[in-house]
Symmetry: C2
Subunit: 161 residues, 2 copies
């Protein structure tokens, strides 16, 4: 149980990052990383995409139940697309959070049962790497880059630190 009664119900529901172009980001998060699109909300000037691994079957629920389930679990990724950035020649892109100016946010992390297989598949799909398993001192983890340049850490589930 969470450590205080007042926060007993609390869940770490989602993390939001902005994306330049859903035509690039949705295939990355859905096809390359295997998440399901749980909800898509057009808010006028922007669209919100809520993605999640459907280990609890959320992706197969009828729409109404899916909407209810979306705020009652953890591990949701929210992508915000401000309309027009994808075709604006003056759009500078989003900060990854890992360099100045704009250092703060670091990364999201995906854990996988077989990291060698996962990384070999990313290579075969042409995914850019920030750090391959063979780079640097930490040979058990990798970092790939999403279409906006956000870092995605890849970690074996069997890691025990």
């Amino acid at each position: 149980m969470p450590r205080t009664a007042a926060t007993e119900s609390f869940k770490f529901n989602h993390t939001m990052i902005r994306i330049k172009d859903p035509k690039l980001s949705l295939p990355f998060y859905m096809d390359t990383l295997g998440m399901d699109l749980v909800s898509e909300q057009n808010m006028g000037d922007f669209t919100l995409y809520f993605l999640a691994y459907s280990h609890d079957g959320i992706a197969s629920l009828p729409a109404e139940q899916k909407a209810k389930a979306r705020f009652n679990r953890e591990g949701i990724l929210e992508l915000t697309h401000n309309h027009g950035t994808e075709s604006d020649p003056n759009f500078q892109g989003y900060a990854s959070g890992n360099a100045e100016p704009g250092r703060g946010f670091g990364h999201i992390a995906i854990t996988v049962s077989n990291i060698e297989e996962a990384c070999a598949r990313f290579e075969s799909l042409g995914v850019p790497f920030k750090k391959r398993l063979t780079d640097g001192k930490m040979r058990h983890i990798a970092f790939i880059l999403d279409p906006d340049g956000y870092w995605v850490e890849v970690v074996p589930q069997a890691l025990s630190l």
Copy 2:
């Protein structure tokens, strides 16, 4: 099940943000938001704090099992403290991701069973708000600020959109 066999095991394990001072951030995430400290790793120049809601009992596990469980679930928050920032008068602070320069990352979100009670408690604890329930058009959600100025959205679990 996740939508492709190659990604069947994948989990959205954690989100990492940098913090200036663990003496401020740990009480915020643990006491105010009710997360448990699952793991603390001193890496020399920096320390990593892994926090989570212990709905699965992870916080009560023996250390070795806790370490194993940490990469096999979702909803973990990783805080990175680069040693010295807390007392460096020249440290400029971290970017929230919501303003230039450094726009990209948006927020993390906590869902709660009773948002009025949760927000009243945050008020009583002196937590700064970015957006109260009564501000703006979206009267069902709030945003509070963590000690580094990162936005934390507070959303009712019963929300159905």
